[in-house]
Amino acid sequence: MSRRARMVLLALGLAGAVVVLAVGVLGLPAFGGHRHPYRDLAVAASFRHATANAVSAVNFDQRALDTFGEETILVASVAGVAALLRPVRRERRRQVDPEMPVMDSTRLLTAVFFPVTLLIGIDVVAHGAITPGGGFQGGVVLATGLHLLYVGGRYRLLERMRPLPLFEITEAAGLVSFIAIGLAGLAVAGHLFSNVVPQGRMGQLTSAGTVGLLSCAVGMAVVSSVVILLAGFLDQALALEEEPAAGQWDGREGAAR
């Protein structure tokens, strides 16, 4: 197709899509209305199970199957990335320069914020049932916190802090525990994902029954998934290179160091 034909088609497509989206958006209920049928039901349901964070109640209690699906999507994506990023025959590993030159201020900030970020991550996961947050958010905070080490130039330390075979196991264990809690509901109350754990008093750390436990299971899977994912990409970018053809030196190896 010629460039002009492409442009005409693009204009047609965008025009159609804009009209469709505009008509759709104009038909939406006005901003700030008072009719919220699902919110009214969901908040009441969240109170019934002593869950202070209604969003977590929706995610982990009322619609736990969707969250199970989303966690599975994440784990499946990581399995997919691992399958696609595996070193192929033409690639080989090289030694990554362990300590990159990093400014002292960056080093200092990393040293301060590394433990703080990890603590906040754990806090967000653990308090998913009673404060804003939960397994997904806290898991991402934890995983990115760990990668502050890379920003601070400590790639070696990062590699030591994340033994990948172990993280593969914790990732799977997160998903397996989510399913196990769901199956416990099936065994005890006769319905998958029933909230069968005593729900305590609203606002306490131990309230909300299965919500906190499922949040922790998701947190475990998410932190491991993101770490494995980033490790795969970092590895691809830093540690793998194309094998130079035999008897031929293309100079790239020297340049890369």
């Binding site: 899509a17 039901l41 009322q62 696609l84 990023l85 593969e168 319905h191």
Partner: protein, 614 residues
């Protein structure tokens, strides 16, 4: 209200079990011996298939409804929870997915040793996604499982990473499907903002009588993801790139059930949620226009291919076009015919893909020209087996009695005629003859070495010579490969012979279309079916057999014409008037993902324009 419905309580396990097994493979699969991984995966697929069979038997008498966590709606009939629902059609699709999975795993026994257990884990995630999608009774849950099957499918497509075109195909597939998924999510958001509900049964009530344009827009956006999966023109561009590079056993699942699930998604959402809205006025028009475009375009593209897997991929798209066209007239008999057609198509198309896989592993090519006469180099029983499976599957695809594909097609044709669409049977016959003819042409060239050895082998980049082998099978074709392909042909034939299967399919279709029954079952626990009234079709009749034989004869004629074209006098070659649009068609399928996304946007606009009330 049933307080202890065991079937309902156990239904979600069909989704949970494969994910649990896949999680184990992700965690410790690398440390397990390969045999155990293969056997365990196969066992899980068999368990899901067994559960699906049990559920199918139960759904013959009543629906199965499962409210997760017992978040059943209260007296108002509006709730916060998620429901799964199984009727004969939805559990039938889930069972089809499990059956094809078992056969694909059998075919690929010992495949992909290098990537460890990733292949098996991804296959199980894929199975869970398809099962969950078929059973979901909630538009957001449908979306979640749609994404789950997508993620697994993209990775499975690109599994042969040594081959740059595999990665390219996976990227095209991933990007086009993801863009469509965003649009679907916007559509879901619109429906939710409008009604405050996501459950299909609840939507059925609250959207009833809503004749606004807004509902049409929300439906179009919501359907975009499903239409892309269903490879409906102009949403179809990803499909041939993905099928060309995906491992053969994965193609069996893509063509046999994943693509059909896209169409199921549109039908499910429309028939339950949107049946009493402004969408109803134009939906048949949309199915007819998009379906006819899909069938014609894909049939022509199918004839043009020499890459065997690409050819089969376009044949699948052409069949989707036929499904859509038939569904646009003559409910519920059309739907019954299409349901059987889908089953029969899955069997014979799967067998053809497996034959392509055997040829690829044996000769390192799936190019029709390169493989000319190669079938005769397959000596002994192996050769006889592959040649006859290929031939039978090709004839079955064209509609040969008693294959289920032919029976389904014949039922759909009868339904179309009875609904007053006299053009229906000729249309179905022409499209079937063209795509069946293309496959038979490959058989004539590859298995028999008919005609002259084709010229111009180097001329095209789209040949199937670059395709990487999947596994080195050595001198002999492993029995498991021939048995898997043969089993599919036997299943495809046997389904057409099951007594009163046409009547059963009609009853199942009737129940699928019964929105009131669905709502009563999901919201109020009245899970029994109302009695089915009306006449039920008898299955093969003389008229159907004759028309099917005509289709097969026409397909043979198309194939013979293609192979022996060089013997014809020059005047019978295609004139310039035909060749120019064909060249344009080829150029439109550019392989560039940017073009594909533009076509997707055009498709959204066109669908909305056809569907919007005049």
């Amino acid at each position: 209200m049933p307080s202890a419905d065991t079937a309902g309580q156990l239904l979600p396990l069909l989704v949970i079990i494969p994910v649990l097994a896949a999680a184990v493979l992700v965690g410790v699969g690398q440390r397990l011996p390969g045999r155990l991984v293969g056997a365990g995966t196969m066992m899980v697929a068999v368990v899901v298939g067994g559960g699906g069979t049990a559920a199918l038997i139960i759904t013959g008498r009543r629906r199965i409804v499962s409210w997760l966590g017992d978040w059943r709606p209260g007296g108002s009939g509006t709730g916060v929870g998620i429901a799964l629902q199984a009727d004969q059609l939805s559990i039938g699709l889930a069972l089809l997915a499990a059956t094809l999975m078992i056969i694909a795993l059998g075919f690929s026994w010992h495949y992909f040793r290098a990537p460890g257990s990733h292949f098996h884990a991804l296959m199980l995630f894929f199975l869970a996604g398809m099962t969950g999608f078929a059973l979901a009774g909630d538009i957001f849950t449908m979306f979640v499982f749609f994404e789950m099957m997508g993620v697994a499918a993209y990775a499975l497509t690109g599994l042969k990473v040594e081959d740059p075109s595999a990665v390219q195909g996976a990227i095209n597939f991933g990007i086009v499907n993801s863009v469509a998924a965003y649009l679907s999510l916007i559509g879901i958001g619109m429906v939710y903002a409008h009604t405050g509900e996501l459950n299909l049964a609840e939507l059925s009530r609250s959207l009833a009588g809503d004749h606004s344009t807004f509902v049409v827009i929300a439906f179009v956006l919501l359907s975009t993801g499903f239409l892309v999966k269903a490879a409906v023109v102009p949403f179809h561009f990803w499909l041939d790139d993905a099928h060309a590079v995906a491992p053969t056993p994965v193609c069996v699942l893509f063509s046999g059930v994943m693509v059909e699930l896209g169409l199921y998604g549109v039908l499910r959402v429309y028939r339950i949620g949107f049946a009493a809205t402004s969408v109803a006025a134009g939906i048949d028009r949309v199915l007819l226009v998009l379906g006819a475009a899909t069938a014609v375009l894909a049939a022509v593209m199918c004839l043009l291919q020499r890459h065997l897997k690409r050819l089969l991929a376009y044949s699948t798209i052409a069949h989707m076009g036929m499904f859509l066209v038939a569904l646009s007239v003559g409910d519920p008999e059309s739907l019954a015919g299409i349901a059987l057609f889908v089953l029969g198509h899955a069997a014979v198309k799967g067998a053809l893909f497996l034959c392509a896989g055997i040829l690829l592993d044996r000769f390192g090519s799936v190019d029709e020209f390169t493989l000319w006469g190669a079938g005769q180099r397959l000596r002994g029983w192996d050769g006889v087996g592959v040649r006859s499976i290929f031939l039978l599957a090709a004839l079955g695809l064209a509609g040969l009695p008693p294959f289920a594909a032919g029976l389904g097609k014949s039922l759909a044709e009868t339904a179309m005629t009875e609904a007053g669409a006299a053009w229906g049977p000729p249309f179905m016959i022409i499209i079937s003859a063209l795509t069946g003819g293309a496959v038979l042409r490959v058989w004539l060239r590859v298995a028999v070495g008919a005609g002259r050895k084709p010229e111009g082998i180097e001329a095209e980049g789209m040949s199937g010579d670059e395709e990487l082998m999947e596994v080195d099978v050595g001198e002999d074709i492993p029995n498991r490969m021939i048995i898997s392909a043969g089993a599919l042909v036997v299943i495809g034939c046997a389904l057409g012979l099951v007594p009163s299967i046409a009547a059963r399919a009609t009853v199942a279709a009737d129940r699928f279309l019964d929105a009131d029954g669905y709502v009563a079952a999901v919201l109020h626990g009245r899970i029994g079916y109302p009695p089915v009234a009306g006449p039920v079709p008898s299955g093969w009749d003389l008229h159907g057999v004759l028309l099917s034989c005509l289709t097969v004869a026409a397909a043979c004629a198309v194939a013979a014409l293609a192979v022996l074209r060089h013997r014809l006098p020059g005047g019978l070659r295609p004139p310039e008037v035909v060749r120019r649009p064909v060249r344009l068609l080829r150029r439109v399928h550019s392989g560039r993902v940017g073009d594909y996304v533009v076509w997707l946007l055009i498709g959204v606009g066109v669908t909305a324009a056809i569907l919007a009330p005049a």
